[in-house]
Symmetry: C2
Subunit: 122 residues, 2 copies
């Protein structure tokens, strides 16, 4: 049994890998407007139902969806929490893409990092 208050560390490998496929991103977008059955999810895609079931399994494994079991349908519902983990990791780099950092071309970068003890870690 897990200790009370246990929080599983975000599996960024699985989350980013799940997000790396356009079909899976489309599925997530679809689920943002409500849960859907496998066939409903599969309809827009030119691909077999088992292929979609596989994508759903990848998404579920990454914690990005949940499956229900009602009658013979197994609807999927969005679980966006792991996306927050992904964004949290990316946010550590915000400095580097905002405020036209590229123009400074790494000048401030060196200075700034010389006086911060910490760093960007996983």
């Amino acid at each position: 049994m897990e200790p009370v208050g246990y929080i599983k560390p975000p599996d960024l490998d699985a989350v980013f890998a799940a997000l790396a496929d356009p079909t899976r991103r489309a599925i997530l977008s679809r689920l943002a407007s409500g849960e859907a059955s496998v066939n409903e999810i599969a309809a827009p895609f030119e691909m077999s139902q088992p292929a979609v079931s596989k994508h759903l399994k990848v998404l579920e494994h990454a914690g990005l969806i949940e499956r229900d079991t009602e009658k013979q349908r197994r609807p999927a519902r969005l679980k966006a929490a792991p996306m927050a983990d992904a964004v949290n990791w990316l946010e550590e780099f915000r400095t580097f893409w905002s405020s036209s950092f590229d123009q400074l071309d790494g000048l401030l970068e060196a200075i700034q990092n010389a006086e911060t003890k910490g760093g960007v870690n996983e």
Copy 2:
């Protein structure tokens, strides 16, 4: 020649795939504290230099790093812009992970989405 003002569409496939590997994320974190040569990057890892060169190629292809050429070194520097594209895509789902959306268990979700015309797309 490209038209003036042309903006290449973000290749989310390549960006997310590049981020899906822990070695590559560690490399990006390393580069956040300044550019580094291939050997400097490779040092902390228990893996051959060619393996690291491959990772760098993946990161470069995703637009996440740039390579210089000075003397015989080929230092890599962080280019974080594609991370902003990734975050932008993820931000569309912020509603679903913030404000304890999970507790509501999809109740508000259905209502809210019934009255918004648009949706979350790629």
